[in-house]
């Protein structure tokens, strides 16, 4: 590993990692999402020259992360050990887990992290109007589960 290589990769990770991690965590839960992020970035390091040519690195690495999850799909887990933040509604984790995967991705990324609909459409390989619908329905379900009014 050369120092310039490492520096270039580090700069790429600094930009890509937060978005990739949040997307994979939204899809698969805390543990599996983080594991998939590490796997995707490890792949990125091995194929760093090829990755330079890819414009939409987060969407590409998201699919790498998906492929890295070798186990049969299970319900995503959103449990924080020793969770003591009083400002987070205790039902949020179970309410997110109860959403469908695509609704959850739309809610977390578009509503929570202010991604554009187009960015999520690229990530999930769906059309923008479909992402919009996932978002609206997901938010409705989430609010109902948490008993938050539409105006909250």
């Amino acid at each position: 590993m050369t120092e310039p290589d490492r520096e270039e990769f580090q700069a790429m990770v600094a930009v890509v990692e937060p978005r990739l991690r949040r997307a994979l965590v939204a899809a698969y839960g805390f543990d599996k999402g983080r594991e998939a992020t590490a796997a995707a970035l490890a792949w990125a390091w091995e194929h760093r020259r090829r990755l330079r040519k890819i414009d939409q690195k987060v969407a590409y690495l998201f699919r790498v992360g998906q492929s890295s999850l070798r186990v049969k799909k299970t319900a995503p887990l959103f449990e924080i050990p020793h969770h003591e933040e009083p400002w987070i509604e205790p039902r949020l984790g179970s309410a997110l887990a109860a959403l469908s995967e695509r609704q959850r991705i739309a809610v977390v990324l578009v509503y929570g992290f202010r991604w554009t609909l187009a960015e999520v459409a690229d990530l999930t390989g769906t059309r923008i109007p479909t992402v919009q619908t996932h978002l609206e329905r997901g938010l409705r379900h989430l609010r109902a589960a948490m008993e938050v009014s539409d105006h909250a």
């Binding site: 194929h47 187009a118 769906t126």
Partner: protein, 373 residues
């Protein structure tokens, strides 16, 4: 007290700490083979595949469980340009009766939405990929939001023979299908949609219900996508004609010859436009004889750009999902029917019955074993 969006941000970041560079470099990469090993399907194999698939479809319909998509046939040389196809369709549309609900009536729209899922039926064996099909019905009053929606979860449709074989080898277990909501194309109010093609662009740009143009990164794709959505949502004949003429002038739209819709198996002319998604195209299938939009499909055209290509060993051992092949669809929406309903929740009398093979499905009841009840 935090707002809900702030809570979500705090919650997601609190539950999964950033992955450090040292962790990444210490992590053993799970995919060692470089992309570029995608194999196309040879013509002879494609013929065998199609024959096998016809038999599989018949068997699947008989047992009422799953069917398999045979893959898109090779594209024949288009006989007409995209502009000619769309202009001719516009002439047909001009002569259609408009669909305008009267007092107390509803516009009824029925579509199939197909998206993909993958799962491992047997640990250590190949993962299967399949299309999840959902049929949506909406009843909308003029100038109103959808007043009622109906959902029927359809049969999953295996992408390839190998995907189906992996499922059979595992004892044909129940497959989860459907997402328990979500996927309904939004209804677009067509009441004020222009009847002149040259006014369409400005009108579409003003629509609050549409994602704004810059988010697509390219105006041509945004225009194409928005126009198709309106075509599928009950635009009147003159509006449909204007939309088709508008589409004929979108730069980059090209004819790709006869195509068959995936959810309904109807033949039409394919019109394609490069997607902003690397390695993908947007394909619209239109019936020039009726001016109807049959399907909008996302198609992989450069598999190596679209995805990371895992090794055959990783695929066969279930360590990775088989990569998409060039020409395969990764999502589709089929337009089934639009008409005027007298009551919300009841399809018009003239509406066709649900497609064959769906009879076992009940509204909002996914297959047994669904992961998303």
């Amino acid at each position: 007290m935090l707002e809900l969006d702030e809570e979500i941000r705090a919650f997601i970041d609190a539950g999964a700490a950033p992955v450090t560079l040292d962790e990444v470099l210490a992590h053993k990469a799970v995919h060692g083979k470089a992309p570029g090993t995608v194999r196309g399907i040879a013509p002879k194999r494609r013929t065998l595949l199609a024959a096998f698939t016809v038999a599989a479809v018949v068997v699947a319909l008989l047992i009422g469980l799953v069917v398999e998509w045979p893959g898109e046939p090779a594209r024949s040389k288009p006989a007409m340009t995209a502009s000619t196809i769309l202009t001719n369709a516009a002439l047909v549309a001009d002569n259609e009766r408009p669909l305008v609900p009267g007092p107390g009536q509803y516009l009824y729209v029925r579509v199939i939405d197909g998206s993909t899922e993958g799962t491992a039926f047997t640990p250590g064996k190949r993962l299967s990929r399949f299309y999840v099909q959902e049929m949506f019905q909406t009843w909308t009053a003029p100038h109103g939001q959808p007043v009622k929606e109906g959902l029927v979860v359809g049969q999953p449709l295996f992408v390839t023979t190998a995907d189906r074989v992996a499922w059979e080898d595992a004892g044909s277990p129940p497959i989860y299908s459907g997402y328990g909501g979500g996927g309904t194309p939004p209804y677009y109010d067509v009441a004020d949609l222009p009847t002149k093609a040259d006014r369409m662009k400005a009108y579409l740009a003003k629509q609050g219900s549409l994602p704004v143009s810059p988010s697509y990164g390219r105006d041509a794709l945004w225009e194409f996508d928005a126009a198709v959505d309106f075509l599928q949502a009950g635009a009147s004949s003159q509006q449909r004609a204007a939309l088709l003429r508008f589409m004929a002038d979108i730069p980059g739209v090209r004819s790709v010859g006869p195509q068959t819709s995936m959810g309904t198996g109807l033949r039409g002319q394919g019109l394609e436009l490069r997607s902003d998604h690397p390695g993908a195209e947007v394909l619209a299938i239109i019936d020039p004889k009726t001016s109807k939009m049959l399907e909008l499909r996302g198609v992989v055209t450069n598999a190596a750009m679209f995805q990371e290509i895992p090794s055959d060993a990783d695929v066969n051992s279930g360590h990775a999902i088989a990569p998409w092949q060039n020409g395969q669809a990764y999502s589709y929406t089929d337009f089934l029917y639009a008409g005027i309903a007298n009551r919300a929740g009841h399809a018009p009398l003239a509406a066709p019955t649900a497609p064959p093979g769906w009879s076992w499905a009940t509204p909002r009841s996914p297959l047994p074993g669904s992961a998303y009840p």
